[in-house]
């Protein structure tokens, strides 16, 4: 129940911003690309914000290890101001760029979409990914004696408090979701505030909205820091104070929208449009038809067959390779001594081989199979034929990712079944739950690269350049996995988790710090799983946004 509640909360923190954006789009038709632009302004602001906070901590202006090092008011105000300055100035830079390049994207609904993108990616990262990382770590530590972790008294107390909070009730899972929903709403308000500086085309007159947004953002963040430190983990009180800081912003935004009578008019227009135009169900039905067509295409062009065969061979082959590698060495004259050096193979080796094979060949297949899905049809002119029909562009791109997803799911079912059978035959049975989860994690990891390749295929002008872009994005992501502090939260972290699961499924004890027994506790990396989902969804959103703007 606890796991389900937190999983649902994390899933909603990741998908709610997209659902809100989809709703806004149906009401007033801002372009999807603005969601990505809003997300980018947040990411760029953090590229300055996080190092700035580190530097301020280094020079003693912010506490380095404990909040008690400095007066709380000063810490709260400083943190608020750095967040406000970095994020609102990034937002202002985004508006300045849009005004120059695409002035038609300066409507009120465009500013709401930018706000949803900015607050949305924050919700996905700070809400979804970090909550998932924290929750999965705490879940893994439930079985471990905290005293064996080598923490000081203060850290130990904080850990115990967090553990208590996380495990007290499944209802606690709703708290981060509420907090993130509130945060998204205030980001929309900040976005409207900065928009006002640019909207009337007289920045010299309306400039004051930018410092106003900075100060309001700083005030909200400072209040959050203050209450977090003084409310003794009373989350209801924290939420109430947080909400009260948002009230003026909400009131102003509603006043603004009512004043311009835009909201009511937009909803009325949407109602009228729904009557004569396509409903969401009509669009979903086209998406379904397109997905089925994609799957038939994969089948008829033999791609599904080839991919299934490759996965099956690597699935069945992995335990075989693990089992017979020492025998192969023994049979080669002069190599017998190497065979002696190789320990007796186990089911754990079979699992290691399985993960290695699927990761390496799956990665190559993911890039190769997906690189032409969009650009190939653009090059041949089929996309123009189909898009001239009532095919929503989102459905055109999404159906391709969905079909690829089904193809790799089929591949993993075949590979998984083959590997399970041969491991059973050559070694011993695997723990089915761990083995299924392992395959799920590998699938999620692979889908990240499929999504990046689909994005590359949308961005590129030719199949070759699509492959280059897809491969470049994938390598950049793999390299980012080596970043200190954040690298483990990227999808590469799924591999470590999958390897531990593989060993446990094979009955081999993993050596974890503080592991009480040889029953092998696995250190789950929920953060990596959540970040994989975020990257898949954001790649898709960017691909749709870009495709919507492309001329065919």
């Amino acid at each position: 129940m606890l796991i389900m509640a937190y999983s649902l909360s994390i899933f909603l923190m990741i998908t709610l911003p997209l659902a809100l954006a989809a709703g806004l789009r149906r009401v007033s038709r801002p372009v999807w690309l603005l969601f990505s632009v809003g997300s980018l302004t947040f990411i760029l602001s953090q590229a300055v914000h996080l190092p700035l906070n580190d530097w301020l901590a280094d020079i003693g202006f912010l506490p380095k290890s404990s909040v008690d090092e400095l007066p709380l008011w000063r810490t709260a105000v400083t943190l608020g101001l750095t967040a406000g300055l970095c994020e609102e100035l990034a937002r202002a830079a985004g508006y300045a760029l849009i005004k120059k390049l695409k002035p038609i994207w300066m409507r009120w609904q465009d500013s709401l979409m930018l706000g949803l993108g900015h607050g949305g990616i924050e919700s996905m990262i700070f809400g979804g990914v970090l909550t998932a990382a924290g929750f999965s770590s705490l879940l893994s530590m439930r079985e471990i004696d905290p005293n064996t972790l080598g923490l000081n008294t203060e850290q130990l107390a904080a850990l115990k408090l967090q553990l208590e909070l996380f495990t007290a009730s499944p209802w606690n899972a709703i708290l981060p979701l509420i907090e993130r929903t509130l945060a998204i709403s205030i980001h929309v308000v900040f976005s409207l505030l900065v928009w006002r500086a640019f909207a009337r085309g007289k920045l010299s007159r309306d400039w004051y909205y930018i410092p106003l947004a900075v100060l309001y953002h700083a005030a909200v963040d400072a209040a959050v820091v203050w209450t977090a430190e003084t409310s003794s983990a009373n989350y209801v009180l924290m939420m109430l104070i947080f909400t009260s800081t948002l009230l003026p912003g909400w009131a102003w935004a509603l006043w603004l929208l009512r004043k311009e009578r835009v909201l009511r008019a937009a909803i009325k227009r949407e109602r009228e449009r729904q009557v004569g135009d396509s409903s969401i169900w009509a669009e979903l039905s086209v998406f379904w038809a397109a997905s089925i067509k994609e799957l038939r295409q994969l089948w008829r062009t033999k791609r599904l067959l080839v991919m299934g065969a490759v996965f099956l061979i690597f699935g069945m082959g992995s335990p075989v390779i693990a089992k017979f590698t020492p025998l192969a060495f023994r049979s080669i004259e002069g190599m017998e001594m190497f065979a002696e050096m190789i320990p007796e193979p186990t089911a754990g080796d079979a699992m290691g081989q399985y993960i290695k094979n699927l990761a390496q060949f799956g990665f190559i297949l993911a890039v190769l199979m997906a690189m032409g899905v969009v650009v190939g049809e653009k090059e041949r002119g089929v996309a123009a034929m189909i898009i001239s029909k009532p095919m929503p562009r989102w459905a055109f791109v999404s159906s391709k990712l969905a079909a690829q997803g089904v193809m790799y799911l089929t591949g993993f079912i075949l590979a998984g079944t083959g590997a399970y059978y041969y491991t059973l035959f050559l070694f011993e049975p695997l723990a089915l739950g761990d083995y299924a989860l392992l395959n799920g994690l590998l699938y999620l990891w692979l889908m990240v690269f499929v999504a990046l390749s689909v994005l590359g295929s949308t961005l590129a002008g030719s199949t070759v350049s699509a492959g280059g872009i897809g491969l470049g994005l994938a390598i950049a992501l793999l390299l980012a996995g080596a970043l200190p502090r954040y690298g483990a939260l990227l999808p590469g972290g799924l591999m470590g988790w999958a390897n531990q699961l593989g060993q446990r499924a094979a009955g081999v004890a993993a050596s974890l710090p503080g592991s009480a027994s040889a029953s092998a506790e696995v250190m789950a990396n929920g953060g990596a799983a959540a970040s994989a989902l975020v990257i898949i969804l954001m790649s898709l959103v960017l691909a749709i946004g870009v495709f919507e703007q492309q001329e065919l």
């Binding site: 004569g276 038809a289 123009a384 034929m385 001239s388 029909k389 009532p390 095919m391 001329e551």
Partner: protein
């Protein structure tokens, strides 16, 4: 439509620019498209009446395909708007794309699909129910003469079959307007005949907006003609009115077939002599046939035959005719 707008298009009568989005099958309002410094289409304002087979003429690069892509919502206008059957197509609305069928210059299909499967897929995208899809597929395969090839892979179709398939897919869902971009340009004479025949069958049922640089095709199937030159609309008119507006000022001369170089030289000398005459506008020669555009008809009628006799040529046919669409087109787009 404002007078200023009409003034910007001097060759466009009010009836082809005054109807608004609601009453015209196609309505473009100041539709423009620039690619950097290049002006592919400049402030096109045009009404296409319902039921017409509308020929959109222009040389290569005149802006015909750009107009088609803007109407089909595949390109974004730099300025202006366009409506098809009363619904704006430049606003990326899904429903607007049910109002027209579009055939690009080089239609491309999923080659692994059969004709039947492709039409079925198009019907699904258009939200047609199963029964309606089945009946429309049967009807369109019959109309396009592809019944026998219905289950064959599209990848194995000839050029003519692909174009007919293209028109069939454009007609799926019974759209009120058909946008055909150079549907015959890549076909051999037999293929062209088949496609033009298919378009002729649509007369009165569907508004056809047909772009082409092949004037004989336009002359054969269209009832209304617009001429686009360097991105600007220079003329819109009913085809018959257009031809009637231009007086009988062309004469066709057909001589005895040429058998030797001496005949050849004699005809060449005659052609050169004609071109030197002040009353002659242009001379076009094709084997033993000459088509002479005349500036001063009365002088032409007086002086032409004596000139033929002076060059000792044997004349088989002598006929005063109206200028063809090609003559008018060349004159306007010169």
């Amino acid at each position: 439509m404002s007078e200023a707008m009409n003034a910007a298009q001097p060759g466009v009568p009010a009836e082809f620019s005054e109807f608004g989005p609601e009453s015209a099958a196609i309505y473009c309002q100041n539709l423009s498209k620039h690619y950097g410094e290049i002006q592919a289409l400049e402030a096109l304002t045009l009404s296409v009446p319902y039921g017409s087979v509308f020929g959109f003429l222009g040389r290569n690069g005149a802006g015909k395909t750009t107009t088609m892509r803007l109407l089909a919502g595949l390109a974004l206008p730099t300025a202006g708007r366009a409506w098809v059957a009363g619904m704006e197509t430049t606003s990326a609305r899904r429903q607007a794309r049910l109002r027209f069928g579009y055939l690009p210059q080089e239609p491309a299909f999923y080659n692994w699909m059969s004709a039947c499967e492709y039409l079925e897929y198009v019907g699904q995208i258009q939200g047609l129910n199963k029964a309606k899809r089945a009946s429309q597929i049967d009807r369109l395969l019959a109309l396009s003469g592809l019944q026998d090839a219905a289950r064959r892979r599209i990848g194995g179709f000839s050029g003519g079959m692909l174009q007919r398939m293209g028109i069939a897919q454009a007609l799926m869902g019974d759209p009120p307007v058909l946008l055909l971009d150079e549907p015959t340009s890549s076909l051999d004479p037999a293929g062209r005949y088949e496609v033009l025949d298919m378009i002729s069958q649509l007369r009165g049922k569907t508004t056809v907006f047909l772009s082409s640089h092949i004037l004989t095709d336009i002359e054969r199937v269209c009832d209304t003609v617009a001429i686009l030159h360097k991105g600007r609309l220079v003329l819109v008119s009913g085809k018959d009115e257009l031809l009637e507006q231009h007086p009988v000022n062309a004469v066709e001369l057909e001589f005895e077939p040429i058998y030797g170089s001496s005949d050849q030289e004699m005809l060449a000398r005659f052609s050169s002599a004609l071109q030197e005459k002040a009353w002659v506008a242009s001379v076009k020669r094709e084997n033993a046939r000459l088509r002479v555009m005349v500036q001063d008809v009365s002088r032409g009628k007086r002086e032409l035959l004596p000139l033929v006799m002076a060059h000792d040529l044997s004349l088989n046919r002598y006929e005063w005719v109206r200028p063809s669409l090609e003559d008018i087109f060349l004159q306007l787009s010169a």
